[in-house]
C-alpha cells in the first residue's frame, strides 16, 4: 500500500515534469530569465570574474539564447553544475539549457534522453610534455608516466591509444586539473593528458610556457555542445538555430560592428532572412523577427566570441583549427537559413 502511494507520487511528479518540459519556451518567457547550466569554472569556457559576472565561451552561448528568446543577453541565471550534477539538473528541469563543454556521445544523446543542439567546440584529447624530454610524437611515449584524471573518458582513450600502438605507460591518477598542474610541474609525471583546450589553458598558466609543448597527435573526438531535454522540440529548435545563427553570421560576414548597418537591409537575401528583415523565420520559431540579430548583438558572431574568450589573442591562445568555417577547412557548417 505504502509502496504504491510512493510510486504514484513519483509517477505524478514525473508526469507533471513531462508536461512542464514541453513548454520550456513559455516558462522562460514567463520567468523572463533563462536558466543556463555552466561549469563551476573552466578557463576560457565559463567563470565568474571578480564582480561575479560570468564570462567565457560557453557563457556566450547562454547569453545568445537568452537574447534570442527574451531580447536581452543579460537575462540569464547561471547555474553552476559539476560533472556529476549536470545531467540531473537538466533532466529535472532545474535548468533550461546546459552549456557546459559536454561531449556529444551516443549514450548521452540516446540513453540519458538529451538532445544535443549542435557543436560549439570540436575538442580532442592531446598530450602535454616538457620540451627537454626530447619527444616530438605521442608514438614515442613508450614507458612514460602519465598524469590522468580518473573516471573520465580520457582515461579509457589513453588505454586504447597505448594498446593500439603496442606501448606501455604508468598512470598517475589525479582528481582535478589544478592537482594535475602541480604533479606535472613537480615532475611526478612526464606527460599530462586531457582535452587539448584544457592543456593549452594549463600550459598558458605555467611560469615558463615555452619549456612545454603539445604533441601533434589528437587521440579522440570530443565534440562539445549545448544540450536540452528530449521531448521539447520547439525549445531544442530555438537553441539549435541560435547556435547556427552565430556560425552563419560569421560565414556571411555579419559582426557586432556592422550589424546595425546590415539590419537596414542588404542585397544578400540570406543575411536578410537571418536578421529578420525578410521572410518570417522568427515567427516559425515562435520568436520576434529580430531574434537572431539580438543573439548576434550580445557578443558578436562565432568568430568574435571565439577570439574574445579562447582565441590566439587571449592567454589560452587556441588556434581555430577544426573550429574554422568549412570554407576555411574547418568543421563548422551551419545548415542554410531558408
Amino acid at each position: 500500500m505504502k509502496k504504491s502511494v510512493f510510486f504514484g507520487a513519483v509517477a505524478t511528479a514525473g508526469l507533471l515534469a513531462g508536461a512542464a518540459s514541453a513548454q520550456t519556451l513559455a516558462e522562460v518567457q514567463d520567468r523572463d530569465s533563462l536558466r543556463c547550466g555552466v561549469t563551476t569554472g573552466l578557463v576560457g569556457f565559463a567563470a565568474p570574474d571578480e564582480t561575479g559576472e560570468w564570462e567565457g565561451f560557453d557563457v556566450a552561448v547562454c547569453r545568445a539564447v537568452a537574447a534570442a528568446v527574451l531580447g536581452d543577453g543579460s537575462k540569464v541565471e547561471f547555474i553552476p553544475t559539476t560533472g556529476s550534477t549536470r545531467f540531473t539538473a537538466l533532466a529535472s528541469g532545474e535548468i533550461d539549457l546546459l552549456a557546459r563543454n559536454t561531449t556529444w556521445t551516443f549514450s548521452r544523446d540516446v540513453d540519458l534522453e538529451f538532445e544535443f543542439v549542435g557543436v560549439n567546440y570540436y575538442d580532442g584529447q592531446g598530450f602535454l610534455v616538457r620540451k627537454d624530454l626530447g619527444v616530438t610524437s605521442a608514438t614515442e611515449l613508450d614507458g612514460a608516466t602519465v598524469c590522468i584524471q580518473t573516471g573520465t573518458t580520457t582515461e579509457l582513450n589513453l588505454a586504447d591509444f597505448f594498446r593500439a600502438n603496442g606501448m606501455s605507460y604508468e598512470p598517475v591518477p589525479i582528481e582535478t586539473n589544478a592537482e594535475a598542474q602541480q604533479q606535472y610541474l613537480a615532475n611526478a609525471c612526464d606527460v599530462y593528458t586531457t582535452d587539448a583546450s584544457g592543456l593549452a589553458a594549463t600550459r598558458a598558466a605555467f611560469e615558463a610556457p615555452d619549456d612545454h609543448m603539445l604533441l601533434p597527435e589528437i587521440i579522440s573526438k570530443e565534440p562539445l555542445g549545448p544540450l536540452v531535454r528530449h521531448g521539447d522540440n520547439v525549445w531544442g529548435d530555438i537553441a539549435r538555430w541560435t547556435l547556427n545563427a552565430l556560425i552563419t553570421a560569421e560565414e556571411l560576414g555579419v559582426t557586432s560592428e556592422n550589424l546595425e548597418e546590415m539590419m537596414a537591409g542588404t542585397d544578400n537575401p540570406e543575411i536578410n532572412r537571418l536578421l529578420g528583415t525578410e521572410g518570417n523565420l522568427g515567427e516559425m520559431l515562435g520568436l520576434e523577427a529580430d531574434w537572431a540579430a539580438n543573439a548576434i548583438a550580445v557578443a558578436g558572431n562565432y568568430a568574435e566570441i571565439f577570439e574574445a574568450n579562447i582565441g590566439e589573442e587571449t592567454a589560452i591562445g587556441l588556434a581555430r583549427g577544426l573550429n574554422a568555417q568549412w570554407t576555411d577547412g574547418g568543421l563548422l557548417y551551419s545548415p542554410p537559413f531558408r
Binding site: A9, A17, T40, P80, A178, A205, E207
Partner: protein
C-alpha cells in the same frame, strides 16, 4: 663579662649571608634548555633534528612571505614583481571569499548580522551575561534571516507571529497536559506555516513596505555560507541530538524504533550522498515550480547528519551516569522530564562536552562538501578563481587563506570547549 666574651670570639656575623647565585648551569635559560631540550642523549639528538626541520621550513617560508606581492592584476605580473607569494589574488578576490556573489552594495548586511551574532550568542555561551539577553537571542534568527536574504520585513515577522501563537497555545495547555500542549503547539506551527503564513506575510509586507533588496541563495557563498550552514546546523543539531539520544533509551517501542532507525540510517550513509539527494533528487520528487531553497535543503540534511552523530555522543554521556542518579531522581518524586532536565542532562552533557565539540568541529568543516553540489563555499570559490586566466596556476595562497580561516574558527571552538570543561569541573582533583 661581656668584654671577655667579645674578646674570645673574634667575629660575630650579625646578618645572614646573601645567597650566592646558583651555578651557571642551574639557572635561567641555560637550566631550562638543559632540562627541557638536552636532558639526555636521545633528547639532544631529537632537539637538534627538530631545530633542523624548523630551520628548513622557515628558510622556505620566510622569503616566501617576505617577498610576497600584494599589488598585481595577474599571476604573470606577480611573477615579474617578486619571487614570493602572490597575495594580490587575495586582495582582488577577497569579497568572493567572504561573501560569494553577494551584491557588493549590500555587504553591510552580512557584516551587521555577524556583529549581532556575538550579543546573541553571549547569553548561551557565558552565564555571567544577564539572562534577559536571551530575548534577543530568540529574535536573532529572524533578524539574521531578514538581513541576509532581504525582502520585506513582513515574512520574518509573520513567521515570528506563528511561533508566538504556538507558544501561547503551549502556555494555555501546559497546566493540564504537558505532552498534549507540546503536540498542539507543534500542530499550531505547522498549520500556521502551511495556511496562514502566506497571507500574514503579504498583509504585513503592505505595512512594512518593500524592505531590503532580495538576495538569491545562489549568490550567497564564501565564508558567509560556511558560517550560515555551520552556525544554524550546530544550533539545531544539539537539541535534536539530545532528543534522539533520549529516544534511543526510551521504553516506548515505536519512539525507540524510529530513533534507532534514523540514527543508524544517517550514520550508514555518507554526507555527500545526502547532499546529492538535497540538490538533485528532491527536484525530481517535488512538483515543478516548487522553490525549496537550496541552502535550506542543505541545512536540513547537515543538521540531520550531525544530530545522528551527536545522539551517540550524548548517549555515551548518559551511559556513563551511575544508575543511582536515575533512582535518586525517582525517589525525589521528579517526573521524567524534570529528572532529565535537572539531574540527568546536566551531568551527561558535562561528560560529553569534548565529544560534542568534536562533532561540531567536524560538522563545521564538512560544510566544505557543498562545493560538490556547486555551491560556492570558500573551497568552491577557489575553482572560479583558478578558472580566471589571470590567476590560473596559483594554489598555495588560496588554499592557505581558506585554511587560516578554518583554523581560526575551529580553534576558537575548541578553546571554548576547554573553558567550559574547566568551569564545570566539580570533582576533586
Amino acid at each position: 663579662m661581656s668584654d671577655t666574651h667579645a674578646n674570645t670570639i673574634a667575629f660575630v656575623r650579625e646578618t645572614q649571608l646573601p645567597p650566592s647565585p646558583p651555578p651557571a648551569a642551574e639557572t635561567g635559560a641555560i637550566k631550562w634548555v638543559r632540562e627541557n631540550l638536552f636532558s639526555s642523549i636521545l633528547n639532544s639528538i631529537l632537539t637538534l633534528l627538530s631545530l633542523l626541520v624548523i630551520f628548513m621550513v622557515l628558510k622556505g617560508m620566510v622569503p616566501w612571505f617576505w617577498n610576497s606581492t600584494w599589488n598585481a592584476n595577474s599571476l604573470s605580473e606577480c611573477r615579474e614583481a617578486g619571487t614570493g607569494a602572490c597575495f594580490a589574488v587575495i586582495r582582488e578576490r577577497w569579497p568572493q571569499f567572504f561573501f560569494g556573489f553577494y551584491p557588493s552594495t549590500e555587504y553591510w548586511r552580512p557584516l551587521l548580522t555577524f556583529v549581532l551574532l556575538f550579543p546573541a550568542l553571549a547569553p548561551i555561551l557565558f552565564n555571567k551575561v544577564p539572562q534577559k539577553a536571551l530575548f534577543f537571542t530568540l529574535l536573532y534568527p529572524f533578524i539574521g534571516y531578514w538581513l541576509i536574504w532581504g525582502g520585506s520585513l513582513g515574512g520574518p515577522v509573520a513567521t515570528l507571529l506563528g511561533v508566538v501563537v504556538a507558544y501561547c497555545v503551549y502556555r494555555t495547555l501546559v497546566a493540564q497536559a504537558p505532552v498534549i500542549a507540546l503536540l498542539a503547539s507543534v500542530a499550531a506551527v505547522v498549520i500556521w506555516m502551511l495556511f496562514i503564513n502566506g497571507f500574514a506575510a503579504d498583509a504585513l509586507a503592505g505595512v512594512f513596505g518593500a524592505g531590503l533588496e532580495e538576495v538569491d541563495s545562489r549568490n550567497i557563498g564564501g565564508f558567509l555560507l560556511t558560517m550560515i550552514l555551520g552556525i544554524v546546523s550546530i544550533s539545531l543539531a544539539l537539541p535534536l541530538g539530545i532528543l534522539l539520544a533520549l529516544g534511543r533509551q526510551s521504553d516506548l517501542l515505536i519512539i525507540k524504533a524510529i530513533c534507532v532507525g534514523f540514527i543508524e540510517f544517517i550514520r550508514g550513509v555518507p554526507l555527500i550522498t545526502l547532499l546529492f539527494v538535497a540538490s538533485v533528487l528532491l527536484s525530481y520528487f517535488l512538483p515543478p515550480g516548487t522553490t525549496f531553497d537550496l541552502v535550506l535543503r542543505v541545512i536540513i540534511l547537515i543538521t540531520m547528519f550531525a544530530a545522528a552523530y551527536l545522539a551517540e555522543v550524548v548517549r555515551g554521556g548518559l551511559a556513563a551516569l551511575p544508575r543511582g542518579q536515575y533512582e535518586a531522581a525517582d525517589s525525589l518524586g521528579l517526573d521524567y522530564w524534570q529528572a532529565i532536565r535537572l539531574i540527568i542532562m546536566p551531568q551527561a552533557l558535562k561528560i560529553s562536552i569534548p565529544g560534542i565539540v568534536n562533532v561540531f568541529i567536524g560538522l563545521y568543516k564538512d560544510t566544505t562538501l557543498v562545493s560538490i553540489i556547486s555551491m560556492y563555499d570558500p573551497l568552491g570559490v577557489v575553482q572560479p578563481i583558478l578558472a580566471d586566466s589571470d590567476w590560473n596556476g596559483i594554489l598555495w595562497e588560496l588554499y592557505g587563506f581558506v585554511a587560516l580561516f578554518f583554523f581560526i574558527s575551529c580553534y576558537s571552538m575548541s578553546q571554548y570547549s576547554r573553558y567550559l570543561e574547566n568551569k564545570l569541573r566539580t570533582d576533586h582533583r
